[in-house]
Amino acid sequence: MRRGLLLPAILLAALAGLGAAAPQPGVNLDLVLADAPAPRLSDYRLFLDAGADRPNGRVAPYDLVTPLFTDHAEKDRFVFTPQGRRIGYTATGVLDFPVGAVLVKTFAYPADLRRPDRDVRKVETRLLVHKASGWTAQTYVWNAEGDEAVLKRAGARVPVRFTDPAGREVALDYAVPNQNQCKTCHQVDGAVSPIGPKARNLNHEVALAGGGRANLLALWSRAGLLEGAPAPEALPRLAAWNDAAQPLEARARAYLDVNCGHCHSPAGSASNSGLFLTADETRPAALGVGKPPVAAGRGSGGLAVAIDPGHPERSILAFRMASGEPGVMMPELGRTLVHEEGVALVQAWISSMPPARRPGD
C-alpha cells in the first residue's frame, strides 16, 4: 500500500549538497529561523519544484518503522539540517536536532490507495521548525493544482475522496489541524517537540535506488547527517506494526506508542488520565489493564476498564479506537476514519492476554 520511501539515491544526492556547489540556492535559513512563519511553503526553498517532490540540498527523505495513522494519508517525510550542523544521536526520545532543523511531512492521497503512485493529490505539508527558542509547528495547505501551499494557522476541513485498499470508495472531511492542535500532540512538558524521529522508529532497512538495502540511520551516519550513533545492531528498534513476522505484543505496543503515546505519557496532553501507552511503560495498570476510566464520559462505551485481558470486546481502549465519533474516538485528533487494521492488531493483543480472574470464575 505504501508509495515507498523516496529512495536513498535521492537522499544521497541531497546530501551530496553537503560538499558540492548546488546549482540552485539552498534552503532559506533566515526564513527558517525567523520568528514569523513564511506565508507560502515555497518561500523556504525546501524543494526545487513547485510540487514539493524534489528536495533541495541538505533536505533528506526518511521514513518510520511504525507511522501514525492519519486517515490513510500517504506521507512523505524530509529533514533539513543547516550547513555544518549534525543531528545528535540519543538512544531514547527524539534525536537531538540542531537549531535550524526542519522536519517536513506532506500528507497526500492517491485516487486509489492500491495505485499509490498515480493521481496523487497533496493536502497539506506540516513543518516542525527548530528555532533558537524551541520548536514551532505550522502547516501549509495545497491548492487544487498542487503547485502552491499556503500557511493555514486556524485549521481547515478539506473534502477528500479515494479508493481504499479494499476497493471501497471513501469520502471524508480531512481535518487540517490548527496550530494549537499541532501542539496538543507534539508536546513534552508543555513545549513543542517532534514525535516520530526517534532512533527506535528510524532503525530499519530501506531500499536503495540502485538496488540493495541499507539501514537508514547507518546511511545518515555515513552521509555525515547523524553523529554518535552506534552500529545498527546496537540500536533500539521499534517493531513494525504491520510485520506479521514480529511478535504480536511488540507490534501492538509499537502501534500504541506511535498512535497514542505522545499524549498518553506523563509529559503529554493526556497525563491526567493516568493511562500511559508509551513503548517504555511496564506497569499493567498504567497500560490500562483493569484500569477504570477517569474522564471518559460516553467514551467508556458502558465498559468498566481500559483493558480487560482476554476480552477486547470489554476493553475501552479497543472501543474508542473503533469509534469515529467525536467525544468517543481516540485519538481525538488526527483521524476521522477508523483504522481497521490497527484496531484488529490491538484487539488481537488484548485477546492474547491471560484473562483476569473474576469473582465466580
Binding site: 485549521g155 496550530q179 494549537n180 491526567n272 477517569v294 471518559a296 460516553r298 467508556s300
Partner: protein, 402 residues
C-alpha cells in the same frame, strides 16, 4: 500608604520605559468563517489581550483552543454570545485552554460532542459568568463535563451555569487551590465534583435536579492522588432527582439517584451550613472506593470528615443504593440524613478513620470493608464524634494578571 504609592509610580515608569505594548482587543463577530476567524483571534492574541466575541450565535465545526498566557476570552453575556457545537466534527471538547492566567467569561457553550470547556495545566484560570449546556436535556450521549479544569493551580469558577452533563457539570480534577462559588448546576449526573484535589472551597452554589449534588472524590492510579482539605458550605443542595444517566464504567455511574453531598476516599472534608433537602437516597453520604486497585499509595477511605450545622430537610425516603431499601424497611421509615459506610480500616491497619458527624441522626452501616454491603450491621446514632478537626483555611488567591 506612601510606600505603596511610590511602588506604583515606579511600576508605571518602568512600564512606559520598557515600551510595554497596550493590551489589544480582538473583536470577532458572527457570520461566515466564524470558526477560522475565532480560532485565528485565539492564535493571534498576545498576553494581556482580550478576544471579544460579539453577541450572536456561532455554529462551530471543530474544537477551539487557546495556548497564550494572560488572555481574556469574553462574550456579551451567557445568553447573548452562544458558541454552538452541534455540528462539531472533531476534538474532545468545545474550547481547550492550555495557558496560564486566562479568563473566560460572559458566553455560552452548547452541545459539544465531548466536554464543554476544558483547561489543562492552566494555572490562575478563571471561569466567570458562563453557561454550558446540552440543549436536549439529560442524555447519556451528552458530553462528560461542562467546565473541566484539570492539573492546575488556583482555579476560580464563579457564576457558571451548567446543565445536562453526562458526568459532572462543574468538575475540578487533580488541582490545588480551588474556588467554586455562585454557580448553578442542574440536570447533570453530578452537579459539582472535586476530584483528586487539595484545598477547595465550594460555596454559595445551587446544585439541584442532578442525580447527585456535590461530590468530593479521590480515585487511584492517577498522577495526583490523596485529595484533602475541601470545604463545602453555604450551598443549596436540593431536589437532586434526575435518574442516573451516566455511561457505565464512569465512577459517577455508581452514584445513587437522589444524593445530596457525597464524599468518597478523601481526607479533611468539611461540610457545613448547607441547605440539603429533597434528596431521596441520602442528604450526606460518606463512602469508600469499592473497586479493586493496586496502588499502595492510595487510601480508599473517607477520613477526618466533618459534617455540621447543615439545614437538613427531607432526605433518604427512597434510597437507591445497594441494601438501602432493605435498611429503610428495617428502620420502618426514611433513612437518617447522614449515611456512612462505617469502614474504619484499610490495608489491615485498624481504627485509622475518625469522623465528626454532628448533624444527626447518622446511619452507620458498619461495613467491615469497602463495598461489603453484604455484611452490613447498620446502627443509628444521634451523632458520631470521634475527634475535633481543624477546618482547612479559606482558599484565597488573586490570580496573577499578565
Amino acid at each position: 500608604m506612601s510606600r505603596i504609592t511610590v511602588c506604583l509610580a515606579v511600576a508605571a515608569v518602568l512600564a512606559s520605559a520598557s515600551g510595554a505594548v497596550e493590551a489589544a482587543t480582538l473583536v470577532v463577530t458572527p457570520g461566515p468563517d466564524a470558526q477560522e476567524r475565532l480560532q485565528t483571534a485565539l492564535l493571534d492574541a498576545k498576553p494581556g489581550d482580550t478576544v471579544q466575541i460579539a453577541a450572536g450565535r456561532y455554529d462551530l465545526t471543530d474544537g477551539l483552543s487557546l495556548d497564550v498566557d494572560g488572555v481574556t476570552v469574553a462574550g456579551a453575556g451567557p445568553d447573548a454570545t452562544v458558541l454552538s457545537f452541534k455540528g462539531q466534527k472533531g476534538a474532545g471538547e468545545g474550547l481547550l485552554i492550555t495557558s496560564d492566567r486566562v479568563t473566560v467569561k460572559d458566553l455560552a457553550v452548547e452541545d459539544t460532542r465531548g466536554d464543554g470547556i476544558k483547561s489543562k495545566g492552566a494555572d490562575d484560570i478563571r471561569y466567570l459568568n458562563l453557561r454550558v449546556e446540552w440543549s436536549g436535556g439529560p442524555k447519556e450521549a451528552n458530553g462528560a463535563y461542562g467546565v473541566y479544569p484539570v492539573s492546575s493551580q488556583r482555579v476560580l469558577i464563579d457564576g457558571v451555569v451548567v446543565r445536562s452533563a453526562s458526568d459532572a457539570g462543574i468538575y475540578v480534577g487533580q488541582s490545588r487551590h480551588i474556588i467554586v462559588r455562585n454557580s448553578r448546576a442542574e440536570f447533570n449526573v453530578a452537579g459539582i465534583e472535586i476530584e483528586n484535589s487539595m484545598f477547595a472551597d465550594v460555596h454559595d452554589n445551587v446544585a439541584t435536579r442532578n442525580t447527585a449534588g456535590i461530590l468530593v472524590f479521590d480515585l487511584p492510579n492517577l498522577p495526583q492522588m490523596g485529595g484533602h482539605s475541601t470545604r463545602v458550605f453555604n450551598n443549596q443542595v436540593v431536589d437532586n432527582d434526575t435518574p442516573n444517566f451516566a455511561p457505565k464504567g464512569n465512577i459517577v455511574a455508581s452514584v445513587p439517584t437522589g444524593t445530596g453531598v457525597m464524599v468518597m476516599a478523601n481526607r479533611n472534608v468539611h461540610v457545613f451550613d448547607n441547605a440539603i433537602s429533597g434528596n431521596q437516597s441520602a442528604g450526606v453520604m460518606l463512602v469508600s472506593y469499592t473497586q479493586a486497585f493496586n496502588d499502595p499509595a492510595y487510601n480508599p477511605l473517607p477520613r477526618d470528615i466533618v459534617v455540621r450545622d447543615n439545614r437538613l430537610g427531607r432526605n433518604g425516603w427512597d434510597p437507591k443504593f445497594p441494601g438501602g431499601p432493605e435498611i429503610a424497611k428495617a428502620l420502618g421509615g426514611p433513612l437518617p440524613p447522614l449515611v456512612w459506610d462505617g469502614v474504619r480500616a484499610a490495608g489491615g491497619k485498624p481504627a485509622e478513620v475518625k469522623v465528626r458527624l454532628a448533624d444527626g441522626p447518622v446511619l452507620n452501616l458498619n461495613l467491615p470493608g469497602p463495598g461489603r454491603v453484604d455484611a452490613a450491621a447498620p446502627t443509628v446514632s444521634a451523632s458520631v464524634i470521634d475527634a475535633a478537626f481543624a477546618e482547612p483555611p479559606a482558599v484565597r488567591f488573586e490570580p496573577a494578571r499578565p
